[in-house]
């Protein structure tokens, strides 16, 4: 048994030991506040058990292991349905980026330890009403204010901002230069005067994303994490951190076995659905596709184990899996006939076809819309030309609105 297999086995044993208190069953029926409290408790125990900050430096409180151990743990953790979602952005991007770009290391270590134990949560303030996929088109501005800065504007789609203590933010500090060149990167105190968080209710009924308004919010220059005008590079670095993440060929929806089980029970026009060619074809094709995605992931793990950089095909998982989950969820609702109308907005998306279906569009838009992922494949992997960009090279304040 290889080292990573031993690591996985130990991790699974630990997860099984705490699952009765933190897993899916323990969470059923909790309010969001109760669930968040349970999540904080889970993170404390996870930290104590040595499964927090797995690939982060020891000097900041991490475990100093590799990407492969991190991905292995996350892959083992996912099926248990632990209450980790509130911390996924926090630990995924903002906290790693402050470790890299903040100068005051003692302060950073304090933040890291609190974040790893669920005491503090960080959010990422990037998207705006006028700039999601086009991040560099953002309009929130920071102007000099004495020795520091003053922020005004609005962010949107900010996950878990309602529970966040801190955030990292990209703002425009110079509108007279082309859009990528006038941005600067800061961290902000989410409890500071002038910060207003307003949850957005999504189509599925839940509110994990927010609008965040900045109204003369003052930050010191020691909050600045990039050179003035150098914020876009740090923003890109933030988005690159999550290259090594646990993937899910089910598109973060239900496993195909659940569809097969449904088809075993369902009938179509009085005949068993599992014998119906339309259903069989979907099962077979979805399995084939997921089987390939799993093989890509397995190969990436082997490459990491061998000290190699995994291939770019790893980027396919989200694009391919989420949109097929969306269609399969529709089909699963169809299969249930009138019974398919029953809907529980808070059902777990990995267990329930209705919840999977209503939330699937979010997965195709958040973290890189399908169209942006296709652009990235076309441009970065295949070397095809960039789109025509009329705003290229033009000072931001002269771009036609």
């Amino acid at each position: 048994m290889s080292d990573i297999d031993i690591y996985r086995r130990k991790a699974r044993a630990w997860l099984e030991s705490v699952a009765p208190r933190f897993g899916r069953a323990a969470r059923a029926g909790l309010s969001e506040e109760e669930d968040l409290a349970l999540g904080r408790a889970y993170l404390r125990e996870r930290f104590a058990a040595g499964y927090a900050g797995i690939n982060w430096p020891i000097e900041f409180g991490g475990q100093g292991l590799g990407h492969i151990e991190k991905v292995a743990f996350e892959t083992e953790e996912m099926p248990f349905g632990m209450p980790t979602a509130y911390f996924s952005i926090s630990l995924g991007m903002p906290v790693p980026i402050i470790m890299r770009f903040c100068e005051d290391k003692a302060w950073v270590k304090e933040r890291v330890l609190k974040a790893l134990q669920g005491e503090e949560i960080w959010c990422q303030l990037f998207s705006e009403p006028a700039g999601g996929s086009d991040l560099a088109g953002l309009r929130t501005r920071a102007e000099t204010d004495g020795n520091g800065w003053k922020i005004n504007g609005q962010k949107v789609w900010t996950s878990w901002a309602q529970y966040s203590d801190y955030g990292v933010i990209v703002v425009r500090t110079d509108p007279t230069v082309p859009k990528h060149k006038g941005l600067t990167y800061f961290w902000v105190d989410m409890k500071a005067p002038g910060v207003t968080v307003r949850p957005i209710k999504l189509a599925g009924g839940d509110s994990h994303v927010n609008e965040v308004f900045f109204d003369d919010v003052k930050v010191g220059d020691d909050h600045r994490m990039s050179p003035v005008g150098g914020g876009f590079a740090v923003a890109m670095a933030t988005l690159m951190i999550e290259r090594y993440v646990a993937t899910d060929s089910a598109g973060f929806g239900p496993h195909l076995d659940l569809f097969v089980a449904l088809a075993e029970e369902a009938e179509i026009n009085g005949r068993p659905a599992i014998e119906d060619g339309r259903i069989r074809q979907q099962i077979a094709r979805n399995h084939a596709m997921r089987n390939s995605l799993d093989a890509i992931t397995a190969r990436a793990m082997k490459m990491m184990q061998a000290g190699m950089e995994p291939g770019p095909e790893g980027s396919l998982n989200k694009l391919v899996s989420v949109r097929s989950r969306q269609k399969l969820s529709e089909l699963a609702i169809d299969l249930q006939g009138a019974a398919g109308l029953h809907f529980d907005a808070h059902a777990p998306v990995k267990q329930d076809w209705g919840a999977s279906w209503i939330n699937a569009p979010t997965g195709r838009i958040a973290g890189g819309a399908d169209e942006m992922l296709l652009n990235t494949i076309a441009e970065k992997i295949l070397g095809l030309p960039q789109d025509h960009r009329p705003d290229k090279g033009i000072p931001f304040n002269q771009i036609p609105a």
Binding site: L256, D257, V260, A261, E264, I274, G277, R280, Q281, I283, A284, R285, H287, A288, M289, N291, S292, L293, D294, A295, I296, A298, R299, K302, M303, A306, M308, E313, L316, L319, V320, E371, L374, N375, I377, A378, E379, I381, L382, G383, L384, P385, Q386, D387, H388
Partner: protein
């Protein structure tokens, strides 16, 4: 689990690619479409010289002692080049049938000749819409009846067939010397398809009853994995062709690859190629395991869909030039379809896969 290719395997891939790119051209392949029983002879000579016919056979019978993974790598390159002769996969499948089910005399008789490529073997299972047909009659050691549209049938020296003795299924091997063959016109004529008409043709039984059924499916699965690599290679070549064309062809003042409708179409082909590759390599690594048939079926389904779609969309990206005879993209359209049928259509494999997924769940 999947695998990483080792240095030897990478060398097989790069060497076979180098040789094929130097020798196989669109100009040489196009005339084959208009004649029955025409192959691109240099391809088959190369396959023999390079030992590709021997790759996955045991050393004891003149083989190189490698496996599905290595033969798959060669097949992927053959798929890129469109090869020019259809014998590599069925000769391997038949050799495995003889190796796994034949007696020593039969092995000594056929395997060394299959390893050198001096003998060509066909797999004659299909009968019309039956992927594994059994209407061929086996009686008193002899076969009677027709196996239609057998790939490589115009030239095969020996065939592994599915038949029935009236009571139970039979898997048998028959020498084809003197047998009546009727070449058929297909949309991919270099596949050398022919109806094989057996009449009191002596045959040796390899397996009977359920064992014969299981053996036939296993041989088909082995071939499906090789073919999935070939399909991946074809799709990969189409991806590159579409990309290169989109970079050079200009319209409305810019390369057509700058239009999202075009670049996204090509990016989708990339996704299909990588899915096909991953499925094929994974299946090759599962030989001998309980889930091999399911892995082969999954690879087959993904690769077939990927190659067909790549062919369709690569032509579309090319616009008018894509539908001309000379551009030769139709060679891939044709190959995508012939390979989609040769190892059993997707209706067959989808059922095989779903039955196995149900067994696993039960």
């Amino acid at each position: 689990m999947s695998i990483l290719y080792d240095e030897g395997q990478q060398a097989i891939a790069s060497e076979s690619r180098r040789i094929l790119e130097a020798h196989v051209t669109t100009e040489a392949l196009l005339p084959l479409l208009e004649t029955q029983d025409a192959i691109f002879e240099p391809f088959w000579s190369i396959a023999k010289e390079q030992g590709w016919t021997a790759v996955a056979l045991p050393e004891a019978y003149g083989g190189l002692g490698l496996g599905l993974i290595e033969l798959g790598l060669v097949a992927l390159q053959a798929g890129r080049s469109l090869s020019g002769a259809p014998f590599l996969t069925p000769s391997f499948g038949a050799a495995r049938a003889i190796l796994d089910h034949g007696d020593e005399a039969l092995k000594q008789h056929w395997l060394p000749r299959l390893a050198t490529g001096d003998a060509i073997c066909a797999i004659a299972f299909a009968e019309g819409q039956q992927v594994i047909g059994r209407s061929l009659a086996f009686k008193d050691g002899k076969l009677g009846g027709t196996k239609p549209a057998v790939t490589g049938g115009t030239r095969a020296d020996v065939a592994v067939v599915t038949a029935s003795d009236g009571k139970e299924p039979i898997l048998a091997v028959a020498e084809l010397a003197g047998i009546e063959r009727q070449a058929i016109d297909s949309f991919d004529n270099s596949r050398c398809a022919a109806d094989l008409i057996f009449a009191d043709t002596p045959a040796t039984v390899l397996a009977r009853g359920p064992a014969a059924e299981e053996a036939a499916l296993h041989i088909l699965a082995l071939q499906a994995v090789i073919t999935a690599h070939e399909q991946t290679g074809g799709a990969e070549k189409l991806l590159e062709t579409a990309r290169d064309y989109a970079l050079t062809r200009r319209a409305f003042g810019q390369p057509i690859g700058a239009f999202q409708s075009v670049k996204h179409r090509i990016a989708e082909i990339y996704a299909l190629v990588e899915l096909a590759r991953a499925g094929a390599v994974h299946a090759a690594s599962r030989e001998g395991q309980d889930d091999f048939i399911a892995a082969a079926a999954a690879a087959r389904i993904q690769a077939t869909d990927s190659y067909d779609t790549a062919a369709r969309d690569c032509v579309q990206v090319h616009g008018g030039i894509g539908v001309t005879w000379e551009a030769g993209l139709h060679l891939h359209m044709r190959r995508a379809r012939s390979l989609a049928i040769e190892q059993g259509n997707l209706f067959f494999w989808e059922d095989v896969l779903v039955d196995r997924l149900r067994e696993k769940a039960a």
